[in-house]
Symmetry: C2
Amino acid sequence: MSTYKAPLADMRFALFDVLGAEAAFQRLGYTDASRDVLDAVLEEGARFTETVLAPLNSVGDQIGCSHDKASGAVTTPPGFKQAYAQYVEGGWSGLTADTRFGGQGLPHAAGVPLKEMIDAANLAWGNFPLLSHGATEALLHHGEEWQQEVFLKPLVEGRWTGTMCLTEPHCGTDLGLLKTRAEPQADGSYAITGTKIFITAGEHDFTDNIIHLVLARLPDAPAGSKGISLFIVPKVKVARDGRLGEANAVRCGSLEHKMGIHASATCVMNFDGAQGYLIGQPHKGLMAMFTMMNTARLAVGLQGLGLSDRALQNALRYARERLQMRALSGAKFPELAADPIIVHPDVRRMLLTCKALVEGGRVMGYDAALLVDLAHASGDEKERADADALIGFMTPIVKACLTEWGVECTYHALQCFGGHGYIAEHGMEQLARDARITTLYEGTTGIQALDLLGRKVMQLQGAGLKLMLERIERFCAEHEGNAAVAEFVAPLRAKAAQWQQLTMSVGKRAMANPDEVGAAAYDYLMYSGYVSLAYWWARSVAASEASAQSERFKAGKRETARFFFARLLPRCEGHAAAIGASVETLTALDAEAFDA
Amino acid sequence: MSTYKAPLADMRFALFDVLGAEAAFQRLGYTDASRDVLDAVLEEGARFTETVLAPLNSVGDQIGCSHDKASGAVTTPPGFKQAYAQYVEGGWSGLTADTRFGGQGLPHAAGVPLKEMIDAANLAWGNFPLLSHGATEALLHHGEEWQQEVFLKPLVEGRWTGTMCLTEPHCGTDLGLLKTRAEPQADGSYAITGTKIFITAGEHDFTDNIIHLVLARLPDAPAGSKGISLFIVPKVKVARDGRLGEANAVRCGSLEHKMGIHASATCVMNFDGAQGYLIGQPHKGLMAMFTMMNTARLAVGLQGLGLSDRALQNALRYARERLQMRALSGAKFPELAADPIIVHPDVRRMLLTCKALVEGGRVMGYDAALLVDLAHASGDEKERADADALIGFMTPIVKACLTEWGVECTYHALQCFGGHGYIAEHGMEQLARDARITTLYEGTTGIQALDLLGRKVMQLQGAGLKLMLERIERFCAEHEGNAAVAEFVAPLRAKAAQWQQLTMSVGKRAMANPDEVGAAAYDYLMYSGYVSLAYWWARSVAASEASAQSERFKAGKRETARFFFARLLPRCEGHAAAIGASVETLTALDAEAFDA
């Protein structure tokens, strides 16, 4: 079985040493978010996730959720419901939620290490509370006062959970095609009818009520994505005064059988004239849903990160224990029957790849969370606007790169185990299967790439990119004379310049042919991810050298940064060549000529 | 469910148009291997794999093998045993085996498309007959006459199957550590005692007897890998005159629970003083086993290829059917609700990546098989020696690259399905799980890389590389004036020159520090794979243009080659940088400092 220990030292390093979160929280007015409080949250979070959630990860995979056809009820694996009760009791569900609705009012970034721990400990379990956040945000931003009053408190307190009901059998990415109908009723509510698929936590036994946020069409809706409205549809009917009524006409029709996250209930939900309430403006539902999706995308990025870290931890343990062959340069542990495999350079290559992607990715993911707080709570309008532009730019990068790297890291970590990695009992293959969902849901990598290059760069004239390039140049200028990071400054500057140049080159070609955007998007996304990581690695070394961390810790950061710059950053060259390649290399072949 | 159709047109193209196999077979004296015979084999093979094996792939995954603790018996999934009987009845098991032992005597390369079809149709099933080939070869090369007489015919005819029993709980790669003992008995046989793990097809219900080839130590064996001998241990005892005796003291203790290939019985085998016979010289067992392993490695490469092709076929079908979004350059099918996703450049990127790796990899894999025939049957001593050196060089590349690309292609193909790819019913996630074993067994990718750079390049002074570079230069010189491939000649030459230069650079550094080999090995391997593929793509275009293939077919080859050169070959730059990076980037960090 794979084990998990929350990487508190590196989480603190990322949050406090690199990102200066403590000062930022105070400046933003989160006076409760003192270092003492944050440390306590980290330690309690570690205890909860390591001792309650992590031990349930394997049983969740083996047993999964089960569905009762007759009643539509879903039973979660043994221990899952109890773990959720402890989560609610510990006040975790409202950690960063508004105090007006029973939350603890901590900044968003303060909740992100907990999120990472939950995902690493038990991704499938983590999907149940995750979806409540989306519902909470949609209600906060778009709900009427009575809706907030009635629905928010139970959601924040974790007494109810939420879902996002978007996908239908014939439409996922292309929500403009959706068919679910909403008929206005005499009492001001709506009767919702249709089938939604892939509904995470659509039905379960954790709570007495489940709040579905459902996209549907009003009778007078225009066709396409401009005719979609958002509705709130509770499992158990809720009156405007908050009183609970009878069961609503919504029911789980079946559970999907999936490659991984077996314990996460992925439901087909049938709405059969279910009572719902409109949230926000008619026909503006997609916009409201996008509000939720951006945070959800950052959250999925953290899932990739958490799984990568857990995979690395276990590969590292195994590489230190497993004795096999001698180092090519001569026995390193002659007293043992063979050397531990961590002496072999190729095993180190795999471990360092994971370490570079995990620790660099952690700073990148936490920074995005801090930008959310800046955009929300800064007193300075320009700072708010800049943070907002920067999050918009970084969200697809964080989502797609952390999840692609999650697939990669779980691959390397499994590979370190040799054939044993393929055997279920070691738990490595579960991590690989679980990680595989993260590049698919909340928008595939291809969709993130289009969001980045098509929307965030092309449509918004590269505002976010400009801010990111400024950050990089500011760092380089500040550290030109800093011997500790001098070796990274020139390569980082070169990559930033190439990034800008590649952007302009695609932009120019896209004016002649819009398909150039789609042709370059994926490689542009990955290129952006590696350059962002180079920035965060250089900053991490600068922060570590300037900190009171141990010499061992500092060596770890320095050597991993060197590894990253020498061996991973050059992947950019392959991506740059692909970005530079003409769209013709993708479009020349007739769709019929793809078969040999 | 995923479907499978044998890609006969491209198989024929690779074998006949690119590799000229028909003429080669005749020249080598395989007079039976006429085009008519080979075509019939291809068509019958397609029928058998498409209609018998492919439909069992999903049920095999769902039901898997089961083990009876009391008797040690293993039951294969419904239909598997019957499919094996059809395989034996059809004469497939002896297709390329020696006619002296009941085989059909076709050349090795003639059996390779069938092997690919079996792997694509049902990888888990394919592992049962696969292991018989290893046993057959070991007996052919190292068995005494009575052993060949008694064991070979039933193996060739498929009435019995074989296994390779190498791995023990504490040793996989490092067989020098193995502990299984062989005690000489008065009758000239040996009593074998020990536990072997990961034994594919170690127990099953296909045949009445199973022939285990077991590595064990004699009482006077020197320590390490020089003290290992090879024994033949049948499940049911076999006397020297061929008479069957009682059950031998060998038994399946349990089955492993694996990420994929659920229908392939991966057994823990307990030998408890089992009767065995020595094959070959005492203490020379590892050498005999390596004979088997090289062919097995090429065979595993084909597994990666087969799964990639099946994944691509299904992704292609889905990309043509699934309607979602409009092309960025405007609706391509305005009469439909949305465009089929194959219009989107990013979907094409994934499909073309698979197509380039599959079709290029096919020629590379088939060429290696043809080299086996040349090394075996050529009348010219130099040609035999050259073919042997070239196979030795190409074997780790074929094994590792085709399987790494198998993981990559099943990834892309699943990704084309979006969230639906993660759902079991589409069958894409099974292909991804099944593919994951191929970079692990028969030597991980890291082990292949060390075999390539450490043994085949460094120890053998690059003999195989030199031959490969000569092939490339010969092609370039011949086609300099050929307008059809002119665009590929210069980039191919440049890559060949860089390949040579990188090799010399690593060689020089390795003299100072042998760990440089381990540090560069993986990236050197992948670099070699991409350059080899560039060669095969250029040759494929030349062959297709010179052939009577349709214009559509020619366009497919030409545009895929262009895609490969523009978008995949540049991955070499990242690998080249890593090869050039100092070993220090991997070894500087203390093993203890890997945790943050």
